[in-house]
């Protein structure tokens, strides 16, 4: 038998499918299925969140308060005359139906922001207080955060964030921030960024609380109106990073006040003496 060299030209070992088609099919499957799971879990979160007992909410919130400090770039101040004032103002704005005890955290930080963390925690920074000119506008911001607490937006965000984080680590092998603290990363990614409809609901709930407290909504939106005029002011962008600002936010509130017969005119309540020091 003699050896006759013969070239093999067909490629039986390589699938004919183009790599990009293959990727598209895979992505389609994976994205489709994860989207379905994400939506299903989102619905589950929405169904579960209103039923979470206050003790559980407090446990979740208390464990994430340290990462919230980090996020707002500050350390809590213990002895400051403004704390008791802020705490009292916060308590007076709480809806009588809400039972959760409120804790005010006053942070020394250059970042202008206020935030609410599950478990009745409300955080305010020193830089934020420097921007505030009257009690009415301060009350509105605090009441807005209370609105988030009331609607449990933080818990919702936490639930969805956990799902997102899990999916991310499944595909890429590490958690989003490359950090060991899953909860910390979750808070970082999502819990302080609420959807537009969540913001509107918190706005409305906030204005309602202000009306309950002062009998009118006058001057409560002054901060927003001022910021609208000087939107380029870099110092205040952090607040609107977590609270997307749109021009019709004020308009929407005024329209709602009109609908509910709330007066948007009234006397300005000054900030107490400790602020002018």
């Amino acid at each position: 038998m003699t050896y006759k060299p013969k070239e093999i030209t067909e490629e039986v070992n390589i699938s004919k499918i183009h790599p990009l088609t293959n990727l598209a099919q895979l992505l389609g499957t994976v994205v489709g299925v994860s989207l379905a799971i994400y939506i299903a879990l989102g619905l589950a979160v929405d169904a579960i969140v209103p039923r979470i007992p206050i003790e559980t909410e407090k446990a979740i919130g208390d464990s994430s308060i340290a990462s919230a400090y980090l996020l707002l770039g500050g350390t809590p101040i213990e002895n400051d005359p403004r704390i008791s004032y802020l705490q009292e103002l916060l308590n007076s704005l709480q809806d009588p139906e809400d039972k959760i005890p409120l804790t005010l955290h006053f942070l020394k930080s250059p970042i202008v922001n206020a935030a609410a963390i599950p478990g009745g925690h409300v955080l305010v920074t020193t830089a934020f207080l420097d921007e505030v000119k009257s009690e009415n506008e301060l009350a509105f911001v605090l009441a807005h955060e209370l609105g988030h607490l009331r609607n449990r937006d933080g818990l919702r965000g936490l639930g969805r964030g956990l799902v997102l984080n899990l999916g991310w680590s499944l595909v890429f092998g590490t958690s989003g921030g490359g950090d060991s603290s899953v909860v910390g990363t979750v808070i970082n990614l999502s819990s302080l960024n609420y959807s537009r409809s969540q913001e509107s609901a918190a706005d409305l709930s906030g204005l309602n609380a202000v009306i309950r407290r002062y009998g009118h909504g006058g001057h409560s939106l002054d901060l927003f109106k001022r910021l609208q005029d000087e939107e380029t002011d870099l110092k205040v962008t952090e607040y609107f990073y977590s609270h997307p600002f749109s021009e019709n936010r004020v308009k929407k509130l005024e329209k709602n006040a009109d609908k509910n017969g709330w007066s948007m005119q009234g006397e300005k309540t000054a900030l107490p003496q400790v602020f002018s020091q």
């Binding site: 060299p5 013969k6 390589i14 790599p19 293959n22 895979l26 595909v171 890429f172 092998g173």
Partner: protein, 149 residues
């Protein structure tokens, strides 16, 4: 904005991996096909234990080795495939290239030595550099046989 860049950065790497990886693969296949034609004349034959071996004056061991690494695109597709299961078609070219390239190196070595035949060729594979997390393992193929002249 920074968050967006952070989230999108793996996709830049994957896109880069695809473009560069596909280019190198095309080049490699062109080289493989050309050299396969050039080395076609050398018989590579396996003999069973009851078959008489051909006459030879000299014999020596010839070895061909190759290590091929997947690109970021292939690794990403593999990660997706790991979720749903099934054939990893993008890795087929990798294995195919490694197998053919290693045999080519063996045959080129044998031809340079002046071999008339290569007997009883065997393949071995291994993964090297299997770094625990990212799954960027390289594929190693070793092929060896007995060249005679």
């Amino acid at each position: 904005m920074e968050d967006l860049i952070f989230i999108l950065s793996p996709f830049f790497v994957i896109g880069f991996g695809y473009l560069i990886g596909a280019y190198f693969e095309k080049q490699h296949y062109e080289s493989i096909r050309k050299r396969e034609r050039q080395t076609l004349h050398l018989p590579v034959v396996n003999y069973g234990c009851k078959q008489p071996l051909p006459e030879a004056r000299e014999a020596r061991l010839v070895v061909g080795e190759v290590v091929i690494s997947p690109d970021a695109f292939k690794t990403f597709v593999l990660a997706l495939r790991n979720l749903v299961g099934g054939r990893v078609t993008v890795y087929e070219t990798l294995l195919d290239r490694a197998r053919r390239e290693s045999l080519l190196r063996l045959k080129e070595e044998a031809i340079a030595w002046g071999a008339t035949q290569v007997l009883n060729v065997r393949y071995e594979t291994a993964t090297i550099g299997n770094s625990s997390q990212q799954g960027v393992a390289s594929l190693e193929v070793i092929v060896y046989g007995t060249a005679i002249r």
